[in-house]
Symmetry: C2
Subunit: 250 residues, 2 copies
């Protein structure tokens, strides 16, 4: 039997945001590998083995998945959102690059998904409707100085910005520092959105300004979006709309 | 009857990348409004009116959709990819902001989709696997100087970069200038990907370097991705993998 590996994005949470392509891959799999809460989203069935592992063991998980595929299993590695955006795809390729030759000949596909920032942006309106950047605020794998530099340059470029992994228990001070840098660069009136658990039962969306924002408005389930200087709010009798227009004057 | 407006992303082309949520909206619609090739992706049926319009009339199209919804129609505005990324969502909100009060009370939703850069990145591996930015290279609605500035700052920030609308007949020189700026900032060895019509029958993917890249490698159906300094290629007996690792050393 010829094994394969598919690295699949399950979207932000709701089943209605999982692509048919992702479901087809899951239906053909013999093994599903991933972080515990993402594997829990896959329905058990005969012939399917679920391998759930804890957070922060991405490389071990990737190697396990590659081993199974080389042995002839049909393996799906699940990520939430899109697997290519701060998720499992890069971890798998790091493992392939450093691993045995057999891993390089494997049939490996990445199946895209709805990433958290786009689900969050859709809920708010279109805050990423013009040029934007996406930054992982975790400094587990890069120096904080690089995060600071990217924040300053992104502000100077007047990008809208989406932030993944804004805050964790192990580094509570990082997001506070990021907010301070953004306030200095962008001013207190700049719009900021905290979108938590979008499409899940405990979804919440808070729209405020950098001047009013505090670090405790985010946790590890939150995507944070900071507008560009052009991002605006349409107040209306129903929910407000936050969007970035397409047009930038000379 | 109470009308509504949903701004829906159909993904990059293949049906297997359309979310169930998008199909549910289309099934409930009385009217579909959009650019000709995107409306052509919606199956005709009794009770559904298709309103296809030409390119570059986004605001007129948005106003037409809003008018229909106010009259009680259930209207889907279709975009390819994700409607919030260089697509119809911002155009609709521009129209709402400048339009009559009745438009502000409407039930308006944005339904996310698989945007072109994420479909392209998945096909290549994971070139957007770490911090990245997305820039629309069209200068129809913003000054070229702003595009140049963003390119320089994005290179300085060492973002991977995705470029939408790299090239059109009306401005053939823009993308050539962008490549020249990127070559100066990032060096000739930096990886660049040209992903055309991903998930469609005429899909193509070309992996090269800035030194070898020429403007005619892109057209308006191409998404261009330029790696960060960390983006690398894994050569293998089968298709090569391009990815950006999660780890950045001090």
């Amino acid at each position: 039997m010829s094994g394969w590996l598919k690295i699949v994005g399950l979207g932000p949470g709701d089943e209605s945001l999982v692509t048919p392509e992702a479901n087809t891959a899951l239906a053909a799999a013999t093994d599903v590998v991933g972080y515990i809460p993402y594997v829990a989203r896959v329905a058990p069935r005969d012939g399917l083995t679920l391998h759930a592992s804890d957070n922060r063991v991405e490389l071990d998980r990737a190697r396990h998945a590659l081993d199974l595929a080389v042995q002839g299993h049909r393996v799906v590695v699940v990520s939430s959102g899109d697997p290519g955006v701060f998720a499992m795809a890069s971890a798998v390729f790091e493992a392939v690059e450093e691993g045995p030759d057999a891993w390089r000949t494997l049939d490996i596909d990445v199946l895209p998904g709805i990433t958290a920032m786009l689900a969050a942006a859709a809920r708010a309106g279109a805050p990423l409707g013009h040029d934007f950047c996406a930054i992982n605020l975790s400094d587990n794998l890069k120096p904080w100085a690089l995060i600071e530099k990217r924040l300053r340059l992104a502000a100077e470029a007047d990008f809208a910005m989406a932030f993944y992994n804004p805050r964790s228990k192990s580094r509570p001070e990082g997001f506070e520092k990021a907010l301070e840098t953004l306030r200095t660069q962008c001013g207190a009136d700049r719009l900021i959105l905290f979108a938590r658990a979008v499409s899940r039962p405990d979804e919440s969306l808070r729209i405020t300004t950098l001047g009013e924002a505090t670090a405790d408005m985010a946790d590890m389930s939150t995507v944070v979006i900071v507008g560009s200087s052009r991002t605006r709010i349409i107040d209306r009798p129903v929910n407000p709309i936050v969007y970035t227009p397409r047009f930038t004057p000379e």
